[in-house]
Symmetry: C2
Subunit: 587 residues, 2 copies
């Protein structure tokens, strides 16, 4: 243990000069860690981070957390200023500087400058911080990580605005997905990392019998050792939710983490870095175990960083092209990717037609479909489907779904609360040109945002395709990220399954959904998902949606099809981030 024994403890979100002993941190967080360890094995429901904004205190903030007003004020204070990270090396090096690249999808001026460090100065400093962090051991590292998460949780209102104005998510989604849900995923990763490291004991006595001679006796010591600097390449749409698993898995397993955020979504991860450095310093470790590397527009430093010898782990969420490039070129690192896929829903039959339409309408609308888990291809038999509301033709299903989406988003206030803003120009162009791809079942419409007139808000477009192949092949087997989906006519349920298999195998899928009342069809779909390694949600008609997964219970992605090479979170996501070094001596 290298963490100093001290007496003062801070739970204040202000942080500062307080110090935290290892024992204090463990006492504070051990019960939570133990509960997390139980739940990743039981997969029951659990979350230590409340979803409702009111839980964080309406006025002055509950239990040291920022209230809604304080969170808004904290966010406002950050805008138009330089985001200093105290003590982060590399600012004064020949390559050091500042970068301001964010543009709120809501049109709000951001104007925040972030550190763009000289990597030749920063990386050695990060590497030097490793030995003391290694010596701290798995339990102290886990406790430090949980303290970081607790401080982030206390500032959820501030993070919500940061996520909203970088990703374009509506406020409530930014609050929940960018706050408690992301924190849950981070804690899940800490639990997996801890469990993996303590599978091997710290020491063991080994005694091998030698018949009549004395046994051979050895004392063995085992130490989990981080691989080296871990690089987090952040994404635009879910900077914290997609970033926290890799960030905390690497930190908890003994690795420094260099955060390279998406140029359009720096703030949520910059705040994370600042909190992490504050906690690390208070706990007596080098704050340079966590650092931020922002970049100027068009620099593409991820490509340079990814192949540096100091970088031994990479976490990436983003385009398939760059993910494939990383997998093919960053040989010195263990690369974890989440790329793009084409998500399918098979609509074969249902005993709750209204529930199905409502559920799908929500899935297609949430965050304007800008999720890696949003369904794209809705496969519907051209002969129609059986439902509790009678037989429905393919045209009727497409029309009824269009009506359901239209109703869900008919009210502009509700539409804004659900859709959020279009994150970039490419998505907007994709929505606007989708109508040319086929018969439009539901046109996209533009929605005004009462508070942010600069926001681009669009409802989903649904396009009918007469078949999946061969005519519509280039459409069906390409990803249309954003609020674009296709009602695809197929010959039969079996044909739908064949299209599903091909889609997952060739393009990958983060999610598969299906509606069927037939055990035979259900079995066909399940087998396809098992064979092609895709996560399946069946007959969702209520308040759970195919595009949402819950930490501690659901796996996000499978890691076994082209959409991602890893899953959140499992043993494989953490086990290769460290190695176990053994020292043996005669006993």
């Amino acid at each position: 243990m290298t963490a100093p024994v001290t007496t003062s403890v801070s739970t204040s979100v202000e942080g500062g000069s307080n110090e935290l002993s290892a024992a204090q941190l463990i006492e504070r967080h051990r019960a939570t860690l133990d509960r997390a360890l139980e739940v990743i094995r039981s997969r029951e429901y659990w979350s230590p981070h409340p979803e409702h904004p009111k839980a964080y205190g309406e006025e002055s903030g509950a239990a040291g957390s920022l209230s809604a007003g304080q969170g808004q004020a904290a966010f406002d204070a950050l805008r138009g200023s330089r985001f200093e990270i105290d003590g982060q090396p590399g600012q004064s090096g020949p390559e050091g500087g500042w970068a301001a690249t964010e543009v709120s999808p809501y049109g709000l001026e951001m104007g925040i400058e972030y550190p763009r460090p000289d990597l030749d100065v920063l990386l050695p400093a990060m590497r030097e911080a490793m030995p003391a962090w290694r010596e701290a051991g798995p339990e102290v590292r886990a406790a430090v990580c949980l303290e970081i998460l607790a401080r982030i949780s206390a500032r959820t209102h501030e993070f919500a605005h940061a996520v909203m104005h970088t990703s374009g998510q509506a406020f409530m989604m930014a609050f929940q997905a960018g706050g408690p849900h992301a924190q849950d995923r981070g804690m899940e990763a800490v639990a997996y990392a801890y469990e993996e490291q303590v599978r091997t004991p710290g020491s063991a006595e080994w005694s091998k019998p030698q018949g009549k001679r004395d046994p051979l006796n050895l004392s063995k010591h085992f130490t989990p050792v981080g691989r080296g600097i871990s690089l987090l390449i952040g994404c635009n749409t879910f900077p914290t939710w997609n970033g926290y698993p890799g960030f905390f898995a690497s930190l908890a397993t003994g690795n420094p983490v260099l955060v390279k955020p998406h140029p359009r979504a720096v703030l949520p991860l910059a705040l994370t870095v600042r909190v992490a450095r504050e906690v690390l310093a208070e706990a007596g470790f080098e704050s340079n175990l966590v650092a931020l590397a922002a970049e100027r527009d068009g620099e593409g430093i991820a490509k340079e960083l990814a192949v540096r010898p100091e970088i031994r782990i990479i976490d990436y969420t983003g385009s398939t092209a760059f993910g494939d490039w990383l997998e093919s070129n960053a040989h010195q690192a263990r690369v974890f990717t989440e790329k793009a896929g084409v998500n399918t829903v098979i609509i074969d039959s249902t005993d709750d037609y209204k529930g199905m339409l409502g559920n799908l309408a929500f899935s297609l609308s949430l965050y304007s479909g800008q999720m890696c888990t949003t369904p794209q291809n809705l496969l519907i038999p051209r002969g129609g489907i059986t439902t509790d509301a009678g037989e429905k033709s393919y045209d009727e299903v497409a029309a009824d779904l269009a009506t359901a989406v239209g109703k869900l988003l008919g009210d502009d206030a509700r539409a804004n609360a659900l859709l959020g803003a279009i994150v970039n120009q490419q998505v907007r162009e994709r929505v606007e040109s989708a109508a040319s791809l086929g018969e439009v079942a539901l046109p996209s419409r533009s929605v005004e945002h009462p508070d942010f007139p600069g926001a681009t808000v669009r409802t989903p477009v649904i396009v009918k395709l007469e078949s999946a192949e061969p005519e519509a092949e280039s459409v069906c087997f390409s990803e249309f990220f954003g609020p674009v989906s296709f009602a695809v006519a197929v010959d039969s349920a079996a044909d739908a399954v064949a299209v599903l298999r091909r889609t997952v195998r060739e393009k990958g899928a983060m999610t598969v959904g299906a509606y069927t009342t037939s055990p035979e069809v259900e079995r066909l779909i399940e087998d396809a998902c098992l064979d092609e390694c895709a996560q399946l949600s069946l007959n969702l008609t209520g308040g759970v949606y195919v595009n949402q997964t819950a930490a501690f219970s659901d796996f996000h992605g499978s890691g076994g099809n082209p959409a991602a090479n890893s899953a959140l979170c499992d043993g494989a996501f953490v086990s290769d981030r460290f190695r176990t070094v053994q020292v043996r001596r005669p006993a």
Copy 2:
């Protein structure tokens, strides 16, 4: 469960038409699996496979196992014949054929022809076998793997000859390392694989509170799913010991395994494939879950196989050049490599000079140093060392070590029993030219083998180098696989540690050894090994050697330096061989 319920059970090494139910297999092997699961967590000594040849029955074989004579006879019967693998597809395809490439390092005529299947026929058949194997579940798969190991164990005498006459190991080493030790490593991998798959339950009920509304309820099912066909690229020197971990880890996690042996060491793995197919068939599974692909001289089918889309996992032991190639090119697969390294022993001081010399002499001599774990660079302060036998100069240490090796191998019978045969021409040339690299402390000598006059047997050569760098840099930082080691003069213990660090970082190391009575020096060496991720053995003077590791307790390699990207065996070695597919439904 797809394995049929049957009544007859066979433990006979003859195998044949018997059938095994899943329940029978589990009953037979569950206790062993449970013990293995305990020991991989306690890291205490354990082995279910006896090391002594007599344990297998001297006359007719104990408990269904082959006696020494029966093992010899079984091996003899294989020579000069075609090694048929019943029912393995691809022999009659346009590319199908036979290959005979083995040459015993002892000069014994092998003349065995092995299947060289048409891969376009074989691979689809292997892929088709996956779903039923997946449905069997982790426990049945583990039990089937343990049954395979039990049948291999019963034939250890036969395997010993097969390993001896392909690797060149002496009989006793071939028996132990190729038999029980390899089987231990295989079982260890099965235990890790089982534990990893059952971390997630088969099913879970998830209930999320919704305040005053009804909770959201889902039923979730989780299935471990193999990644796809696993390719084992075997090595010449330890076909079973280095092959079994990957073989069993992949099979136990639901993957078919295609075995591509080294052209000079086919038989041990061909026997393994045959036993595995026999057990799989008896247990009601497709025997094509395991197959053999031999190749003709110079074909290099590993390179072709490694990038085929059907191959999703690769296990490789061999040269750094091809290991690096695999890591850089087989992007569609998860690649586990053990390559080459430069192993160091630091000799700083000792309180058992005689024990140290004897221990090192044995390590340098065992299997003519043809182990990835054999020490190469012995770093000795040029000012001498402190020992219980007084101060010893650098020259004295080198001379005394030479004397110790000379004494150990002075008797030809003992020399043959320890050295085995030189595995190939390249190693022989390396030994013969080593004398030109510096002053020779111990020349290599040629030993006649009384039973096998064709065997090339060579004692180790020890060459003195006046410094590690810069003059001798190209020698010190290159691997000299075989019985070649260097007594390298260094300035001090601190200098030795610096050379060690550089060696591990740049060239990798499977093992590091050190002798010191100084706590300060010990700490320096430990820190270096933790920083550079190398496995350290301190002050070995008795019957445990730096180049030997024990399954269930020792990690073989660290996976964190250039010598290997994985370790035998840990969570990371198994966790990414399967993915967990989830199906969720409203409860």
